[in-house]
């Protein structure tokens, strides 16, 4: 049974369109990125030798991130100082940055990154992660998704302390259960298009923009990686995935 009709009764007319929503549209910020994404895909189709991964890496530029980056750099530098000077320098650094709740000096992990994934056991049993990625993969085949999740788990095992949330419209939920991966689900394009919401609020791409804005706000990732699931360059894409993630892992 592919469709569940309404129960027997009077015929139900199609619902009329709703008026435009007056709320501010959070997709506006994402629209440019998505347009660029599509253009890059088209361009890469012609350049088949290029890797098919990492269409976008969106690094945060807010003050908090800059502060964390400064902390990392300076902490790396102070490692070269004599032991008795390290604590003094770090304390002064913390004072200068006006940190309301100082982290233990021996713990280099940025506080924000452990926010959401703190309760998710990582592959090595640690309950905190250094880096959080949102990994967007739209419309993958089950095989592609399986390969991707295998690769992601391998990266997590190799790197440790990486929190990854896959954002997808795939309905192969069993693959996420099998790999033990956390994921956020989007309505698939084919199901979204044609709905009243689609007509009313500007199509699947704009819904994607709104949803990414929501998820980015919720997870506050260090980077959003947009994967291309097409098989043309899958192996290379997965190899690049690991390298891309390593770029974001702080070395301490």
């Amino acid at each position: 049974m592919s469709q569940l009709p309404p129960p027997p009764g009077p015929a139900q007319p199609a619902p009329p369109h709703a008026p435009p929503n007056a709320r501010p549209d959070p997709s506006v910020d994402m629209r440019g990125a998505l347009t660029a994404l599509r253009r890059e895909r088209e361009w890469r189709d012609r350049m088949t030798a290029l890797p098919s991964v990492r269409l976008a890496v969106r690094a945060s530029r807010d003050t908090r991130r800059a502060r964390r980056l400064a902390l990392r750099v300076v902490r790396r530098a102070v490692k070269t100082l004599p032991e008795d000077r390290v604590a003094v320098v770090r304390q002064r650094l913390d004072d200068a940055l006006d940190r309301p709740d100082p982290e233990p000096l021996a713990d280099p992990r940025p506080p924000a990154a452990r926010r959401r994934l703190a309760g998710v056991p990582s592959v090595d049993g640690d309950q905190a992660v250094d880096v959080v990625f949102l990994l967007l993969v739209a419309d993958p085949t089950d095989d592609d998704l399986d390969a991707l999740l295998t690769a992601v788990r391998r990266v997590q095992r190799d790197q440790g302390d990486i929190g990854i949330v896959v954002v997808t419209d795939s309905e192969a939920f069993h693959l996420f259960r099998r790999h033990g991966m956390l994921f956020e689900h989007l309505p698939p394009r084919a199901r979204w298009e044609g709905r009243e919401d689609d007509r009313r609020r500007g199509g699947w791409d704009r819904m994607l923009g709104r949803r990414l804005a929501l998820l980015t706000d919720a997870w506050q990732p260090d980077a959003v990686l947009v994967m291309d699931p097409r098989p043309s360059g899958r192996d290379l894409a997965l190899a690049n995935l690991a390298a891309t993630m390593r770029e974001h892992v702080p070395t301490t």
């Binding site: 049974m1 592919s2 469709q3 569940l4 309404p6 129960p7 027997p8 009077p10 139900q12 007319p13 619902p15 009329p16 709703a18 008026p19 929503n21 709320r23 959401r116 703190a118 309760g119 998710v120 056991p121 309905e171 939920f173 069993h174 996420f176 259960r177 956390l182 994921f183 956020e184 689900h185 309505p187 698939p188 199901r191 709905r195 009243e196 919401d197 609020r201 819904m207 709104r210 949803r211 929501l214 706000d217 919720a218």
Partner: protein, 361 residues
């Protein structure tokens, strides 16, 4: 005229009950009221394939997150979906309203929030859940055929809730003919076909019980049909000769079956009895809140079904022998005809539509 919308929130990491009940109500909303479901059930794609707008978030159990973090995310997602879909009413179907849900309700007091919770809780369970009713504008209680045997905490709150008759997804007029149903399932319409539906396969290890049931039915030359839940993570070990199917919803195909052996969960129980399928109930004792034993015991006492204990092989075989007797089956089906109509979904839909501002209903 602008379409209004009801947002159905459901729990369920491992089952279909809450999701199916929401679907049953949603499809009976008036034409000018739409539905959208936000579920924690891994079965979300099943409902999406029926053409229903469905949103999904991983349950806390599957996410393996600590409570506070997960509830914060849940609240965040609910509020985001309220912006996305702009519903006029929110209905939560589940036995325990999550903290994230309560916080979302507190953030949006402009909306009517309804808690739809079935009764028949196990004695002494769920008192903390009932305290959370104050966060809702109304509580909707799907009815029970076995209401008089209800031992749970909700009984004392009956005068504070909106009670409706039992809720089922499928109506009698939607049953397909035996020939059509058998053709869809790939079984013969001429034999004795028995449905064996002992749960989602996740809550309890049903392998041994299922094995006993299936072996006995096969000895009796019955055609055994075992629906495999698309969300089950383990498959029961079944003897060769079973006919395994995966269909959702299955109830429209019930005429394919001469009898059923089923757990006594809310949806299976009410659907099988409402559609007069002669049934042997084997209650699942391992549920957290649902008192399946009380439900099955009531049905046996009322003569509308047979019942036996899941860990009693002798009792199971004896009950199956009775179920395979055509005279017994005829008596059970006739007794089911005396049950009240399960029209709760219609009443619940009318109730929710009545909460839509502007008096559209």
């Amino acid at each position: 005229m602008t379409a209004s919308r009801v947002l159905f929130l459901t729990s369920n990491g491992v089952g279909l009950g809450h999701l199916t009940r929401s679907l049953a109500i949603g499809r009976r909303l008036p034409p000018d009221v739409d539905m959208v479901i936000f579920t924690l059930s891994q079965a979300a794609p099943l409902v999406a394939r029926l053409g229903v707008p469905v949103e999904f978030m991983v349950s806390r159990g599957h996410a393996q997150m600590v409570n506070r973090e997960w509830n914060d995310l849940y609240r965040h997602r609910i509020l985001g979906l309220l912006d996305e879909y702009d519903p006029a009413v929110v209905n939560f179907d589940g036995t325990f309203p999550y903290r994230g849900l309560l916080n979302a309700a507190a953030t949006r007091p402009d909306l009517p929030w309804v808690w739809s919770r079935r009764a028949m809780w196990r004695a002494g369970r769920g008192l903390d859940a009932l305290e959370r009713a104050v966060a809702f504008n109304a509580v909707l209680e799907p009815g029970e055929f076995a209401a008089t045997a209800d031992p749970g905490a909700t009984v004392d709150h009956r005068d504070q809730v909106r009670r409706v008759p039992p809720i089922t997804l499928t109506e009698r007029t939607e049953l397909r003919s035996r020939e059509d149903a058998c053709a869809e399932l790939g079984i013969s319409p001429t034999g004795t076909n028995v449905l064996v539906q002992l749960g989602a396969g996740n809550i309890d290890d049903i392998a041994s019980t299922a094995g006993i049931v299936v072996a006995r039915l096969l000895e009796g030359s019955a055609t055994v049909v075992v629906p495999i839940s698309p969300i089950a993570e383990t498959r029961p070990e079944l003897p060769a000769g079973c006919h395994v199917v995966s269909a959702y919803p299955l109830a429209p195909l019930f005429r394919a079956f001469d009898a059923a052996v089923a757990a006594a969960g809310y949806n299976s129980f009410h659907e099988l009895l409402d559609l007069a399928v002669p049934t042997l109930l084997v209650p699942n004792r391992e549920t957290a809140m649902d008192d399946q034993v009380a439900r099955a015991t009531w049905a046996a006492d009322a003569g509308v079904a047979l019942a036996c204990e899941p860990d009693d092989p002798v009792g199971i075989r004896s009950a199956l022998d009775r179920l395979l007797d055509p005279v017994v089956r005829e008596g059970l089906a006739e007794a089911c005809g005396g049950l009240d109509d399960a029209t709760g979904a219609d009443e619940a839909a009318t109730f929710l539509a009545g909460l839509v501002p502007g008096g559209r209903r």
